[in-house]
Amino acid sequence: MIGIDLDPELVSQPSPGKTVAQTVVNALMRNGLLTAPAGATVVRWLPPLIVEESDVVEAVSILDRTLQSFPAS
């Protein structure tokens, strides 16, 4: 169980009615990674316990790509 605490300013324009966490979880999903929000600014990673190191590497790469897609505000 890992929580990724996001900078509340990361998303300059969150989707209407959505928190920063929900907006990022949605963007991660569009890039092929399912995660879950925890509160307004935290994205939770709760992978199955059978996860392999290569899956983690892939998830980190999707996270990297997704975070970079948000222009700095």
Binding site: M1, I2, G32, G39, L49, V51, V57, A59, L63
Partner: protein, 343 residues
């Protein structure tokens, strides 16, 4: 059925109490799931910490189909072997003598904690005029303990309570990791303290080692039950079979609730109660795990042979494949990778 018609069914016929992401999932295998357009996803949500063995794990499928063809459900009017075996396994996993009550969800697993704490307050801490007064349970801000009326009353987040007044009385929320606040709040009415060793629903907040040790000491001093909600953080999720042992292995609680990962996706809740000796107000001797006598609590589905056989297979696979150790190792690896994005 295409995506738009599935969503239309939800719009027309499903109570809209969930904020759903815009995708229709159709199948899964291992750590991956697919949507109805054939897109593949890496599933790092696992159905909110539930799909311990991922999707369509052969050991789980084998247990499901094998037990389903033998005996799915009997009610608790009868004995069934898988329930007894799973109870033994869970007691061994906690590492202290006790007994287990089975239910179907985390909310129900916590409900058993609330009821046993009240029973303890009323049967062991009260004389007749006091019945119903010594029942207070302390919980913590930012906690999450389920969506039933008792669950939202216990949960230390205002957002889950809005619109549902009157809530159940007897709960107080204190700042997490603040032992002085707990010391101050404990009174003659307090019978239980409930917490998640790792709060995981409004951010991820681990308890401090000093906090857990201090709570155990306070509970011993004031004859209060120390109860751990292990629904999300238990059974390997934080790299330890018992979430609290990742922080303070020497602390032994009086009661524990599990759900989520315990069934790998098959609904199951369980509540462990310690074999803690106690005296009832009438002078008779008992122990915490025997307070709930026939007729005092129950659920029709709780601990069905099917649910328990599946859970036994899930726990055995976690052990055989060293998945708790793997969770600890990969958790450290992932955290290291993610920290690169800091700042």
């Amino acid at each position: 059925m295409n995506e738009s018609s599935t969503k239309q069914l939800f719009a027309d016929f499903v109570v809209p109490c969930y904020g759903r992401y815009d995708v229709v999932l159709t199948r899964g295998e291992g750590v991956r799931v697919w949507d109805d357009a054939g897109h593949q996803y890496l599933d790092f949500g696992a159905g909110i910490a539930v799909s311990t063995l991922g999707h369509a794990h052969p050991k789980m499928m084998q247990a499901l189909s094998g037990q389903a063809s033998a005996l799915i459900h009997t009610s608790n009017l009868y004995y069934t072997e898988p329930q007894g075996s799973l109870a033994k396994r869970l007691v061994e996993l906690v590492g202290s003598p006790g007994k287990v009550f089975f239910s179907n969800s985390g909310a129900e697993a916590n409900e058993a904690l609330f009821k046993v704490a009240r029973k303890y307050g009323n049967d062991c801490r009260s004389t007749p005029p006091e019945i119903g007064t010594k029942v207070e349970i302390l919980t913590f801000e930012s906690s999450f303990h389920g969506r039933t009326m008792a669950g939202i009353s216990a949960t230390g987040q205002e957002k889950v309570k809005i619109g549902f007044a009157p809530l159940l009385s007897g709960f107080r929320h204190l700042p997490f990791n603040d032992l002085a606040a707990v010391e101050k709040a404990v009174s003659g009415q307090t019978v239980g303290i409930l917490l998640e060793a790792f709060q995981g629903e409004s951010g991820i907040y681990p308890a401090s080692r000093e906090f857990l040790i201090g709570l155990r000491r306070l509970c011993d001093e004031h004859q209060i039950l120390l109860m751990f909600d292990e629904i999300q953080c238990g059974l390997g999720r934080v790299g330890n079979w018992c979430g609290w042992k990742a922080i303070a292995p020497e602390v032994m609680p009086d009661a524990v609730s599990w759900a989520k990962g315990i069934g790998g996706g098959f609904p199951l809740g369980a509540t462990w109660l310690r074999a803690k000796p106690m005296q009832k107000s009438d002078g008779s001797q008992t122990q915490l795990c025997d307070l709930l006598q026939p007729g005092s609590h129950g659920t029709t589905y709780g601990g069905t042979p099917l649910a328990c056989a599946v859970s036994l297979a899930v726990l055995q696979t976690i052990e055989d494949d060293h998945l708790v150790e793997r969770a600890a190792k990969l958790g450290r690896f992932a955290t290291g990778q993610i920290k690169k994005f800091e700042g």
